[in-house]
């Protein structure tokens, strides 16, 4: 890392995360002005986007190579009052909370009090959503059966393909013109809507061009003031780049990175979509520029490294917009889930690893930043070399990159009906979600608490937490004679809660379609332009709505314990068990010991427990898969938690697997923390007994002690281990390589361990920023020692 990058990195790390009022103020002024009143909603949104980009302040660091900030400075995070209006109380919490704070100054607070809140009260999408959702939905949501992603962030959940490296905004505009010209008002009853949406996209493209050119201008004046002739030349060069891209397709490596960055800013300024935005297969997109320039001698590997490092810092400057309420519990982090994909296969199914894949891994290793996150798509065609390099980085305990199965992703996507070419150009984004990059809207709609539903089943439809009857009456479990009866009751409850979730999804997706189109994002995702249809209205080629199951391990173990002790061996009656659960095992420690120690558990390649797992998976899959969503696509499942397993655990009493009240559930498809005792191969075997290819992603977390990766041999055996898991169609695996002693020390002395990054669930985070329950849970995840 050279001095310039060191300085930029240091400034990025040091910058305090703040809540900026600038965007909220501009949006409010725009809507108050009435400029757009006569326009369609789509055009209104495009003009709003334009207004922000024309009027927001610019920030360019003295040493920067890639320019552009969403806020007025690094880590100044905007608010999106049209989506989620932060109250003064929210702001006070954000300002003062211990973990993941956002500083709010008096001026911002005043601005909200005086103009933003009075104008937006009652109009935000969040308020619309809660006003439309029926009480049944609200009750279930409040009980912690599921969470709702779209209640304070816009749908997004997508990644970009190669198109912006081949086309500029001007090219998109000519495609829009073509689409406009082909509109047939005689035969197409939706022609007017399409025209409006296309007009909106055209305006958004124009806004982006002028935003970039504002930077060009600013860079020219910086150049005029620069004393150092070399920097002056550099600034003028950067001004030329910002003038050229993203209006036109990039020609150089530098232009390509800058073009992406402007596009990224556009998406996250237009609204606050989940997963921010994501360049996707970065090594693939950039390689043609890199190879060409290296050949021509206009770029060295070192220059490419510096530009990539500068690019990395831009991501780190952009924390996730602040979350409040339940959403902050399910996903409490500054991480905004941009996940750089490396490796995999090309569209013609060849090994896609190239020198840039390795250079980017070197950058990841050196930068050690929270954002962006990174992963390697490992194909059977990729050389072990790439995986070894990735594991060398994992070994340092940084939690990145995670490893994905490229073949599994392709099969998952084709099973969902994507063409094989589109699937091969896809990857995983967010935490582990498979998607057809550049062509798919694949939103996560909410986490789904599989364990809570068991608790409700055991109480015949009543939530013991609140005493409310939120489920249906599936029968008094004490009357069940066989495990199958109990499981049937569970499956019935599950279906009932999925129904309620989907009812909510349908409402929320329509609210976003009607009131909150995203013309800028629509430019970027096929086939919104061709179809004249917004991303939020189903304009994408593929539209998927996911429901993410959480607590697979905990629920499996709880069901297994019931089957084993109550029904098969009949060593306990259900009544006894339930009464012990009611008192949270207090005074029944030996009883709990039997549940913990002498019961088959998922994660040990134990057929007894794993059979229950498969039944559970199938029940969840059947309840969700294929049901239509509001965008012409379908609902699908995936299995990942972010941090929701902690929240979900907090709303559940003791469970039959020995889990105490309020403690975290298992995460992803990982076994219950500490329940896997046969080592990593048994975990991989158990985890591969569910059919990953029928999901849109699963998350398996493995914690290894550093010693196991100590030498080349340890790494090489781990390579084989991962290859074996993927041969069994495992979707993803990630590693935490930090010993418990280090983590304990970090709990005790957080200030000395501010830089300690650990793998949480599909992303890495600063250990000291995690809540105490999550810290504890990470320490508890079984560490597999080297044998």
């Amino acid at each position: 890392m050279n001095e310039r990058i060191q300085g930029l990195r240091e400034r990025s790390l040091q910058a305090a995360t703040t809540l900026s009022g600038e965007r909220a103020s501009l949006v409010t002024r725009y809507y108050q002005s009435g400029i757009a009143q006569k326009e369609s909603v789509s055009v209104q949104r495009a003009l709003c986007f334009q207004y922000i980009l024309e009027n927001k302040s610019l920030f360019i660091d003295q040493d920067e190579l890639i320019v552009g900030e969403r806020g007025p400075g690094p880590k100044a995070t905007p608010s999106y009052p049209e989506i989620c209006l932060h109250s003064l109380q929210d702001m006070d919490i954000l300002n003062s909370r211990e973990k993941i704070p956002y500083a709010v100054d008096a001026e911002t607070r005043g601005l909200f009090q005086d103009s933003v809140i009075p104008f937006w009260q009652g109009k935000s999408i969040r308020e619309r959503i809660f006003a439309e959702l029926p009480q049944a939905w609200i009750d279930v949501y409040e009980a912690g059966v599921f969470t709702e992603f779209q209640e304070q962030r816009s749908p997004g959940h997508t990644a970009l393909d190669e198109k912006i490296y081949k086309k500029g905004m001007r090219d998109f505009q000519s495609e829009i013109q073509k689409s406009l010209q082909s509109l047939d008002f005689y035969t197409d009853p939706e022609a007017l809507d399409k025209r409006e949406q296309l007009r909106a996209m055209h305006i958004a493209a124009e806004a982006m061009i002028s935003f970039a050119r504002r930077h060009a201008q600013a860079l020219r004046s910086m150049a005029a003031d620069a004393n150092d002739p070399e920097r002056r030349r550099e600034l003028l060069g950067m001004a030329d780049i910002c003038h050229r891209v993203p209006a036109h397709a990039p020609r150089t490596f530098w232009e390509a990175l800058q073009a992406y960055w402007f596009v990224h800013l556009g998406v996250i300024t237009e609204l606050n979509p989940w997963d921010a935005f994501n360049p996707g297969r970065l090594d693939q997109h950039l390689y043609p520029f890199y190879a060409r320039e290296l050949e021509a001698g206009t770029l060295s590997r070192e220059q490419a490294r510096e530009l990539l490092q500068a690019f990395w810092i831009k991501f780190n400057n952009h924390p996730a917009p602040p979350k409040v309420g339940i959403t902050s519990q399910e996903s409490n982090t500054y991480v905004d889930f941009a996940l750089i994909n490396l490796g995999g296969v090309s569209v013609d199914n060849k090994d896609a690893v190239n020198d840039l894949s390795f250079l980017i891994l070197e950058v990841i290793e050196e930068m050690r930043l929270l954002q962006p996150s990174s992963m390697v798509q490992l194909s059977k065609k990729n050389p072990d070399r790439i995986l070894k390099k990735a594991l060398e980085i994992v070994k340092t305990g940084y939690g990145q990159p995670s490893i994905f199965n490229a073949e599994a992703i392709v099969q998952e996507l084709t099973r969902q009906g994507k063409s094989i070419e589109d699937a091969r150009q896809g990857g995983a984004s967010g935490c582990v979600e498979a998607g057809a990059f550049g062509r798919e809207c694949y939103i996560l709609t909410g986490y789904f608490n599989l364990a809570k539903i068991l608790e409700i089943t055991l109480h015949n439809g009543i939530d013991p937490g609140t005493g409310k009857e939120i489920g249906i009456r599936t029968g008094d479990p004490l009357t069940f004679h066989a495990f199958d009866e109990l499981f049937q009751a569970y499956a019935t409850q599950l279906k009932h809660f999925v129904d309620i979730k989907i009812l909510g999804n349908n409402i929320i997706e329509r609210i976003n379609a009607k009131y909150m189109p995203v013309p800028f994002l629509s430019l970027l995702i096929d086939d919104c332009i061709a179809r004249g249809l917004d991303y939020n209205q189903g304009g994408a080629r593929y539209n998927t709505s996911y429901i993410q199951g959480v607590g697979l391990g905990s629920t499996t173990d709880a069901l297994t314990a019931l089957k084993y002790h109550v029904f098969d061996r009949q060593t306990l009656t259900l009544q006894e068990l339930l009464s012990v659960l009611d008192v949270d095992f207090i005074g029944h420690e030996e009883f709990r010991d039997v549940l913990l120690q002498a019961t088959p558990k998922y994660g040990n390649d134990d057929e007894y427990a794993d059979e229950v797992l498969q039944g559970l998976f199938e029940a969840f899959y059947r309840s969700v898969n294929g049901r239509p969503n509001a965008k012409g696509g379908a609902h699908r499942i995936n299995l990942l938690p972010t941090t929701s397993h902690v929240y979900f655990g907090s709303v559940i009493g003791a469970l039959p697997d020995g889990r105490k009240r309020g403690t975290p559930l298992s995460e992803g498809i990982s076994p219950v923390q500490g329940a896997d005792r046969q080592g990593p191969t048994a975990v991989a075997k158990s985890a591969s007994k569910i059919d990953h290819l029928r999901t849109g992603g699963t998350l398996l977390n493995q914690k290894f002690l550093p010693q196991i990766l100590g030498d080349a041999e340890g790494i090489s055996k781990l390579v084989h281990f991962i290859r074996s898991y993927f041969r069994m169609d495992g979707h993803h695996i990630q590693f935490n390589v930090v010993d418990a002693v280090t983590l304990r020390r970090a709990q005790e002395f957080p200030d000395e361990h501010r830089d300690l990054i650990v793998r949480v669930a599909g992303y890495s985070d600063y250990f000291v920023d995690l809540g105490p329950e999550l810290q504890e849970e990470i320490i508890q995840r079984t560490a597999h020692a080297g044998f």
Partner: protein, 271 residues
């Protein structure tokens, strides 16, 4: 096919360890036989020395992280095979397989032979990890079934061998020559116990002994580490190497250099 009755042959083991990555090539499952004729001061599995099924201090063991490891169990060849087969995909992917270790596999002749034969029939790569102290006849039969032998050699000198392991080494050395005379690949495992096995005289003794063999085996250096100390404490056993420090990397390199003078190659030795 191995005779049905052989598959019912049973033996006493104290652990089946999956994802074994230091006991032969690839990812392996190691079957730890219970019972060992030697009592090495540095033994990492002191609970494995006595033969038979008795428990090792069950009260302390209950609280340990891996309670299952502390209990011996009697198992049939079929039962072991069932567990071993579970990880077949990992062996195939990594070139791994099954390792018979201990304790000392040679202490349970029928069981070790039946298990090795059954694994070989199923096309599993079999490694025998042995102290060499056992029947030469049995070893000869096992050599036909296994793909690799890891032959532990502590001392060339008989007196020192007796002092630190409780047994003389004539039988071991005879067996070493027996292994050397056959075709089955083998490696020497040499525990580097500072001040005990690594004195210049000891190293020279081993060096010249190995240099005199036809096949000049490679040596895996197994550096001492003190992780077993806590186990001794839990078992209520005396740990005679208390306070002993692991060898340094430089020291291990010096040992390698010394063996190289005898024309012997070494691997491993990461402290």
């Amino acid at each position: 096919m191995i005779r049905q009755d052989l598959r019912q042959t049973s033996g006493v083991i104290f652990r089946i360890q999956k994802y074994s990555i230091h006991d032969g090539p690839g990812i392996r499952t190691t079957v730890f036989f219970k019972g060992c004729p030697l009592e090495c001061w540095w033994c990492h599995n002191p609970e494995s020395i006595s033969p038979g099924l008795e428990r090792a201090k069950p009260d302390e063991a209950r609280g340990s992280v891996e309670p299952a490891n502390w209990f011996a169990r009697e198992v049939s060849v079929d039962q072991v095979l069932m567990e071993v087969e579970q990880d077949r995909i990992f062996y195939e992917e990594s070139g791994g397989g099954v390792t018979l270790s201990g304790g000392e596999p040679l202490m349970q002749p029928e069981f070790s032979l039946a298990l090795a034969t059954a694994c070989a029939e199923r096309d599993l790569h079999v490694t025998l990890d042995t102290s060499g102290h056992g029947s030469g006849n049995l070893l000869g039969q096992l050599l036909k079934q296994v793909d690799l032998v890891l032959f532990d050699l502590k001392f060339a000198d008989t007196a020192r061998h007796k002092q630190y392991t409780g047994r003389e080494n004539d039988r071991i050395l005879n067996n070493l020559h027996r292994v050397d005379a056959q075709d089955t690949p083998y490696r020497i495992r040499f525990p580097v116990i500072p001040g005990i096995t690594d004195t210049p005289a000891s190293l020279d003794g081993i060096g010249s002994r190995l240099a005199g063999l036809q096949r000049k085996p490679e040596i895996d250096l197994l550096p001492y580490h003190s992780s077993a100390e806590a186990k001794y404490k839990r078992l209520g056993l005396e740990y005679r190497l208390q306070g002993l420090q692991p060898p340094s990397l430089q020291h291990l390199e010096a040992i390698s250099a010394r063996f190289r003078q005898y024309g012997l190659r070494t691997t491993g030795g990461q402290p």
